[in-house]
């Protein structure tokens, strides 16, 4: 997730910005200092690579907040005010002109005893991981406000790199960032440009996430087994089920919700009422699905896990106490299953996988035909909203949208504070004679 990796990078860079007298901290001998410096250069190159990639992803969606000049028909369109474009160019140039190669994955995973190198290592590791989060395939879902937030983050990290570059200049064999001043000014302009708009910090929730896997192995004892089956059901629902298996899954959901109500009532009556209402909704959906057919898809795995869940729930002892944490787990899984079932219904109707059954015509004898064939068995649905089941699902099953967390996060303010902080003034020694 971008939030985690971005925060890690900012935290480590803020810690580095607060370290002064670097030579003293790096090592005692010149050769050791040079070796540590080379390692830091490799880690810095990794961070620089991420910066160039992330700003390249955010750039097409970022628009300058400077009002455009009146159009001049005799001049080509000017790029006035596009600080992001300037920063992107500067970062790309710095990345390409660097002679140091980026750190290898072995270096990322080998902790260092030196605290300075260790901070750089963690920052570089987070940058390498963040390349997943800002990869072009992940970023197609970004909004303009989210892209602006990424541009602001890159600007802050670039400023930190420039400040640190200045501070490390006396390290033996140090290679300064190419176009260091240009990056610094462009980052400053980008940060100002971004701060004029309203950034959207929900970008922290986007990015790469580990793939959810089914929990294999034998059934866990008791309630855990039910949870395991419900989780596996959610994973199996990723493949599109046919109409009959969907009906089996829907049937299992009403049985599960209704079956869990007595257990929830002892702990959380409000949750029990919600699950009671959910069972009612699924009963209604079950009724409305009887006249829906469709043989596309499979979903036998989902139907099997649904049966497992119901069977294990029925085997529970009625006196079993389900902990609030497990009830929360069921609630979270139910919400995601609801959301997935709506998606399946909507997309199935839209692409013609689910069709309506046709009422049988009246049998009229004596019309001269000996054989009466049923010519039509299904008709496609013209508009999804015409179907009762879709209306029910939209009105009652769609989980309420949770407001996205839009906090700036502590790491952002911490990095900004570290960028502008001044080293504490040295206290005069008592034995030093004053002038």
């Amino acid at each position: 997730m971008y939030g985690e990796n971005g925060a890690q990078m900012r935290t480590e860079l803020a810690a580095l910005l607060r370290q002064h007298r670097i030579m003293h901290r790096l090592a005692s001998g010149s050769a050791e200092r040079a070796a540590a410096g080379q390692q830091i250069l490799r880690f810095r190159q990794t961070v620089l690579v991420w910066c160039a990639q992330a700003i390249g992803v955010a750039r097409p969606l970022t628009f300058p907040n400077v009002p455009p000049k009146p159009a001049d028909p005799f001049r080509a369109a000017s790029d006035h005010g596009a600080a992001v474009a300037e920063l992107a160019r500067a970062l790309e140039a710095a990345r390409d002109q660097a002679t140091t190669r980026a750190a290898s994955s072995q270096e990322f995973t080998t902790p260092s005893t030196n605290s300075v190198v260790e901070h750089w290592r963690l920052a570089a590791r987070a940058a390498a991981l963040a390349e997943h989060d800002t990869a072009p395939d992940q970023s197609i879902h970004l909004t303009a406000a989210q892209a602006r937030t990424i541009a602001g983050d890159v600007a802050a990290i670039s400023q930190a790199l420039v400040v640190l570059d200045r501070r490390y200049r006396n390290t033996p064999d140090w290679e300064s960032i190419a176009g260091c001043d240009r990056i610094g000014w462009a980052a400053l302009a980008t940060a100002l440009d971004v701060s004029l708009g309203q950034p959207d910090y929900s970008v922290d929730q986007t990015g790469w996430r580990p793939r959810t896997k089914a929990i294999g192995g034998p059934a866990k004892p008791g309630v855990l087994g039910v949870l395991q089956a419900v989780h596996n059901l959610l994973v199996r629902l990723e493949s599109f089920p046919d109409a009959m298996n969907l009906r089996l899954v829907v049937d299992s959901q009403r049985l599960l919700s209704a079956g869990l109500v007595p257990y929830a009532e002892r702990i959380d009556p409000h949750l029990a009422r919600q699950w009671g209402a959910r069972a009612e909704t699924y009963s209604r959906i079950q009724r409305e699905l009887r006249n829906i057919g469709g043989q596309l898809g499979n979903g036998s795995g989902a139907a099997g896990e649904a049966a497992n869940a119901v069977g294990r729930l029925k085997a529970l002892h009625p006196e079993t106490v389900i902990e609030p944490r497990m009830l929360g787990g069921f609630h979270a899984l139910f919400r995601r299953i609801d959301s997935r079932i709506i998606d399946i219904l909507e997309s199935g109707v839209e692409r013609g996988a689910f069709v309506q059954r046709v009422t049988v015509p009246r049998l009229v004898s004596g019309d001269g035909r000996l054989v009466h064939r049923v010519r039509e068995r299904f008709v496609p649905v013209v508009r999804a909203a015409d179907l009762e089941v879709i209306r029910t699902a939209r009105e009652q099953l769609r989980p309420p949208e949770q407001p996205p967390t839009s906090s700036t996060g502590r790491s952002r303010s911490d990095l900004h504070a570290a960028l502008v902080h001044r080293p504490p003034a040295k206290e005069p020694r008592r034995d030093t004679p004053r002038l």
Binding site: A258, R290, G293, Q295, R357, T359, L363, R373, V374, R377
Partner: protein
């Protein structure tokens, strides 16, 4: 599928659906739903629409009508063993319903 077969199947589905709607417990309702799903599975899901709205509320009458319609499916070429299994399932569901 010929029209008389489709009509018998539509009747059987409607009666079983009516039984599921009027069942007293959720478990019985689910058991009747399984009967309906089994009927659909035997026909490869190529079944006509059902209408359970205007049927009687008397579950005994519904059960008798459903069983008779399901038995009649044999005359339209459905495997007799499948029909017997569905009949057994409907009896089990009825047992659950009456408690």
């Amino acid at each position: 599928m010929l029209l008389p077969h489709a009509q018998t199947l539509a009747q059987a589905r409607s009666y079983v659906a009516a039984l599921a709607d009027r069942a007293l417990t959720l478990d019985a309702s689910s058991a009747y739903e399984r009967v309906l799903l089994e009927l659909d599975r035997v026909h490869d899901d190529e079944c006509p629409a059902l209408d359970a709205e205007d049927l009687t509320d008397d579950r005994d009458i519904l059960l008798a009508a459903a069983s008779s319609a399901i038995e009649e499916l044999q005359t339209h070429g459905i495997d007799p063993l499948s029909v017997e299994l569905i009949l057994a399932m409907i009896v089990d569901a009825h047992d659950l319903d009456i408690g």
